[in-house]
């Protein structure tokens, strides 16, 4: 039950060593099966265009799962339906290679429906051969998405019905409706004439890829005498009399000549250049930690909370950035999950001389509340002797706690006077630097230019910081 591929081209291995058993000369396909014919057309085209050695062939799941027995190419076998995704990974890595995705109707139109649509839609520079024989051959003659209405299969023993399974899918038409594909044609393997037309389509599909023209899709109406329970001649006749009537032949799209070749060149950076390219160069700001005037009891657990958009998370990040440059261990974590609901955002910042265990702040030493719900929600968590800073221009109540340091800051008002309410978080940063002993104002002023790269933003934020710093110092005094 196997056919020999006559006139073996360089596109095939000399002998099929991967094939189990003693027969290393012939394919595993049934007599009268279209796969062997199509394989031969592809191998010949690869040979004629002298690209066989650059070809990577993606074998699908289905009867052609063992295509890698035969094609003298780099071979990769894909999971069911995933050949276009695998081919995408291959082609993107090796844009100069010729990548062929060869799939059957179950593989391409059923389980792999998504993969083929999106590979086509992206216009992946590959060639897809879609073998449509209206049945699952390999698994025992079950219904395919292309099985005809009324056609009996092992899973439609009474015939496919419109009510139960719907209409057969015309993949060439679907693919042709997308913008990206450059060439979509349906051919058949029935008689000499139709096979000649199929051969031409196969060559077109491969030539398009050689010319970097994008995605080509060739649907091939093919025979399955075993699945159809017919002889080989009956099968060819059935393609013409029945299958072709449901799947009209023709070119559904051909814009290969109109489109410019794709630029598939790769420009991989040498490893040594990578750090600079991904922003890992050391910044110029050097800190002399010996000159910093930091308290011995520097360890801080800070919670910052407010509305989204007030710069709550950013303020936490800046505190951490400053701490990092003060050679402290630092961690920052945003509120995450249910706490985000209700429009409040908060983050947890830890600054420590020791390695930080949990990054979560349950009992803050410092609470920065930028709206009323945040003050109400977190006030009770602050440790005794800790500090609560709040934006007194937005919050119309005061903290109830009297065992903590209370620092009202008209941050939004000050920011408004400076001309940009968004700087209210920098005002608070200034107050913290002026009031507390864990932020060195000199370090902060050196870090701000790293954060605000645009000159006008830096200027206004430096002003905001200065205002806050003065206020903080005044409060401290």
């Amino acid at each position: 039950m196997s056919v020999k591929i006559l006139g073996k081209s360089e596109g095939f291995y000399d002998t099929y060593e991967r094939r189990p058993g003693s027969n290393k000369e012939q394919t595993h396909y049934c007599p009268g099966c279209g796969h062997g014919i199509l394989h031969k057309m592809i191998a010949e085209a690869l040979t004629d265009y002298e690209v066989a050695e650059n070809c990577i062939f993606v074998s699908p799941v289905g009867c052609s799962v063992f295509a890698y027995y035969y094609f003298n190419a780099g071979n990769i076998q894909a999971a069911h339906g995933r050949a276009p995704a695998v081919a995408t990974g291959v082609k993107r890595a090796l844009p100069e290679s010729i990548v062929i995705s060869y799939q059957g109707d179950g593989d391409l139109a059923a389980i792999g429906g998504n993969e083929i649509l999106h590979a086509a839609n992206r216009g992946e520079a590959m060639t897809v051969f879609f073998v449509n024989n209206a049945i699952y051959g390999m698994t025992g003659g079950q219904m395919a998405p292309t099985t005809l209405i009324g056609q009996k299969t092992t899973t439609t023993p009474y015939g496919r019905t419109l009510q139960n399974e719907g209409y057969p899918m015309r993949m060439a038409e679907i693919i042709a409706s997308l913008e990206s594909p450059v060439y979509v044609e349906r051919v058949m393997l029935a008689d000499v004439r139709s096979k000649n037309a199929a051969r031409k389509a196969v060559r077109r599909g491969i030539k398009n890829q050689i010319e970097k023209k994008g995605f080509s899709f060739i649907e091939v109406l093919s025979t399955c005498p075993t699945g159809w329970k017919m002889t080989a001649p009956q099968s060819e006749e059935w393609i013409k009399s029945t299958l072709m009537q449901n799947f009209p032949l023709g070119v559904f799209k051909d814009i290969a000549q109109q489109v410019e070749p794709l630029d598939l060149s790769q420009n991989l950076a040498a490893p040594a250049r990578v750090p600079k390219l991904i922003g890992l160069e050391q910044d110029n700001v050097k800190f002399d930690s010996a000159s910093m005037k930091l308290s011995e009891t520097i360890d801080q657990e800070i919670k910052i909370a407010g509305f989204g958009g007030q710069g709550v998370l950013s303020l936490g990040v800046w505190l951490s950035e400053i701490g990092m440059r003060e050679d402290l261990e630092v961690s920052w974590i945003p509120s995450y999950g249910p706490e985000m609901r209700g429009g409040t955002a908060n983050c947890h910042v830890k600054l420590s001389r020791e390695a930080i265990g949990s990054p979560l702040v349950t009992h803050p030493t410092v609470l920065v509340a930028m709206n009323r719900p945040s003050l109400e929600k977190f006030e009770d968590d602050v440790i005794e002797g800790g500090a609560i800073l709040w934006d007194s221009s937005l919050i119309d109540i005061e903290p109830k706690r009297d065992d903590v340091i209370r620092i009202p800051i008209p941050a939004t008002e000050i920011a408004k006077e400076l001309g940009n309410t968004k700087t209210s978080n920098v005002v608070i940063l200034g107050v913290l630097a002026g009031y507390s002993d864990f932020l060195d104002p000199i370090v902060v002023q050196q870090v701000l230019p790293l954060i605000f790269k645009k000159r006008h933003l830096l200027e206004i934020n430096l002003k905001a910081f200065q205002k806050g710093l003065e206020l903080g110092r005044a409060l401290q005094a």
Binding site: N54, G74, S97, L268, I278, L360
Partner: protein, 352 residues
Amino acid sequence: MAKQFVKGNEAIVKGAILAGCRAYYGYPITPASEIAHAAALYMPLVGGTFLQAESEIAAINMVYGAAGTGIRAMTASSSPGFSLKQEGMSYLAGAELPCVVVDIMRGGPGLGNIAPEQSDYNQVVKGGGHGNYKNIVLAPNSAQEMCDLTMLAFDLADKYRNPAVVLADGFIGQMMEPVDFPEPVEEFAEKKWAIRGVDGDRLNLISSIELDPDDLERHNQKLQRKYEIIENSETRFEEYRLDDADFIVIGYGIVSRMVHTAIDQLRIEGVKVGMLRPITLMPFPTRRITELAAMDHVKAFSVIELSNGQMVDDVRLAVNGAKPVEFYGRMGGNVPSIKELVHEIKRMMRVL
């Protein structure tokens, strides 16, 4: 090189690129999306590929194709996405393709929520897809390790021709910490098995098919031998205050950070407790746990997880009845407070 204050998820991408990864295929999902964002930002700058795939399934199969050509390729997702990738994981393991897959675990089952859990332990460490395979699994507990273990994952994946998973949780992914980025990897071992679209590779085949039962059994045996070598050579763990500990807490990822703080507090009270943190979950530090279980001063173990108790099974196998093994877990995205951990550790220590 530069010390930067970055999110764990971003550290993964920068580490991957430093390790020579030039292909990222992914699908957006909270709380792993920053990985895709960073990859989209940086991959083009180094001439690499970033592609947002049509699905998690497509993404892992694109990685399969890219890895087949011998380049360093990766994807990342979160729990429900990893479930979808399991088919691909099995194929990658079967075809022995090296690649790195990141799983930033979130709450399940089903859609669950986006808060951190550690409930993917079984589906990642035990294989999860079909067949007798294992992933190499690394469990970072800091932004620094998100970088370092991602880089290590690429090396181990290549060395053993095996998919490697970086298994982290939403916390480690979202957290920002200073990261000392290492120098880029400059030299890579040649992959003679790869398909590169050149004449010399035409006898190469990337496939997981072995039709003959004897061949497939041999292939499976070869895989098991490989896992054994990995277990013998690549086990990594961290110990904290174990020298005189009566009670050993075992936790990985974010839990280990919290246990660390809880232990410091308990030690102040004079409680002799220490921690073992598995850094590699496959290979699991079985041997070390067995050794500890045999020590006189060690009276009992406790495993703390953000799950219903998945890693605890591996600890119980390692302890093998020598000492009691207690368990405390939180689920649903709830994370225990330090106070809660201190209380629970004391409660569990009543077995002593």
